[in-house]
Subunit: 292 residues, 2 copies
């Protein structure tokens, strides 16, 4: 499989197990994609899962799930803690392997057109796919939520100029892969972790694409990071930055943790950078051969 | 695919393209294994290729190749520079993923029994599969070669007490994966590379499982290593050892190179060790999900 994308659709249902199962099963009905990590929460009244596979197959899979959610969720009666604008709330596509961001933007537009035409749902494009800069940030699109959208009559990027009577609207787009990475210091002093986090986060002029916070986890100070663009700052670079800042404050690193899934490309990049192994390629990994 | 082994059979034919193709095709006739990296050399009159896949499928694949080689190569007329004892000369099995060395030894014995019973060829077990310590090293088994074996009447581990009239004998066994790793110094002084190689190699009390030599490559001094047991000394540890020795001699590292294929497990281990990321697992790599 040369091209792999990830899609993490979020739906406004986290209570009715039959509906949750029906939406998940619709996604798995498309062959040769992998659907996994189903999560749902009754308080939020929300569910999400991950689809990976070839771009066109992932699009087909998520479309089936959206179609099913459209038929089963009525936003007029849906209530939950999590903000939302539709039965299918948000659908991000993420390049994983052999796929450019441009291809992912195109894929998100193809899905948006299909959703608009076949299901009659208005679609707002966000993140890398945003056509209107006001909609680039998800939180901005969601202002007013399902109920507010009725009156605001916002002009969507695709589909009708009014919300779907039961399914509301959908936010679709492409974004980069987010790597969650934590570094635990050999001190219990949370102020040191907060101080280091403040120093390395992009917002304060630190490392590009790095969001960082200081926490106290298991009585150790932790620098908890989201790396929103690992091609700019990868986990190995974040590690060394934290290590340097820690050293300057007289503390060391006890452990680090890559949290959740990570693209092979991020791992290969870390090897290349750390060991000056510029020629190293993922094609050299033996297990990859067997799946070519 | 939970269990993956590699097999790199060597055959005593490197000239007749029809025979080379027939042996390679026989290996590929078994489904769901990957056969690749066919290499042959006319001077050596020898060929080899790599098979990876599930243990039982790899055994079936290499057996087909051995059967074909047995029918097509006559050792009484075969001549070449490379030492050999049979039409199929040597067959190593290597654990790649989810397979223990014990399972690989068992697999090598299963193949040896099948070769002995169905093809009537005597088999000598080497490396981790050796039953007779005299046969542990391949070079020791090969002493006398095909012609010498006729007289020596060595007692094989499996099969008849005399060589097969045209196919000779076969050496089969299990060994660990060998990682080829080079580190280029920022000096042209080859003596420094030789000195560092001498310091880190296992033979001189250095790092376990490390063979090392100093070379001059592209006008740079290179420490060239074979890591014969990456579970004991992995490439990241070898890198740091060379880096420390280089620093002590006032030189630095210009680049490093992982040469050829490498198991994912070695890459994951390097990440774990270098970044103190003890919880990191290959299952966290997104691309792996799709093939489960």
């Amino acid at each position: 499989m040369d091209k792999i994308v990830e899609c993490v659709p979020n739906f406004s249902e986290g209570r009715d197990s039959k509906v949750i199962k029906a939406i998940f099963d619709a996604a798995t009905s498309i062959k040769s994609v992998k659907v996994f990590e189903l999560e749902y929460n009754a308080d939020h009244n929300r569910m999400l899962f991950t689809i990976i596979g070839e771009p066109e197959r992932v699009l087909a899979s998520v479309f089936e799930a959206i179609k099913t959610a459209t038929g089963l969720i009525d936003m007029n009666i849906q209530k939950g803690e999590h903000p939302r604008i539709g039965a299918t709330d948000v659908v991000p596509f993420v390049p994983v392997s052999g796929v450019s961001m441009e291809e992912c933007v195109k894929l998100s537009e193809d899905l948006a057109k299909r959703v608009a035409e076949e299901l009659g749902i208005p679609v707002f494009m966000y993140e890398q796919s945003a056509k209107n800069p006001d909609f680039r940030n998800l939180a901005d699109v969601r202002v007013g939520e399902f109920e507010g959208f009725k009156e605001k009559m916002k002009k969507p990027d695709f589909g009708p100029g009014q919300i779907h009577p039961t399914a509301g609207a959908i936010v679709i787009g492409a974004r980069k892969y987010l790597v969650a990475f934590n570094v635990n210091l050999d001190t219990s002093d949370i102020e040191i972790a907060k101080d280091i986090a403040g120093k390395i986060r992009e917002k304060n002029g630190g490392l590009p694409g790095v969001k960082a916070l200081g926490f106290n986890v298991n009585k150790k100070a932790q620098v908890s990071m989201n790396l929103v663009d690992f091609e700019k700052t990868n986990f190995d670079e974040a590690y060394r930055a934290v290590e340097n800042e820690a050293k300057a404050r007289g503390v060391g690193i006890e452990s680090s943790e890559i949290y959740g899934m990570i693209p092979l490309d991020a791992v290969v990049r870390a090897i290349k950078t750390t060991f000056k192994a510029d020629t190293f390629k993922s094609d050299q990994i033996l297990e990859k051969k067997i799946y070519e």
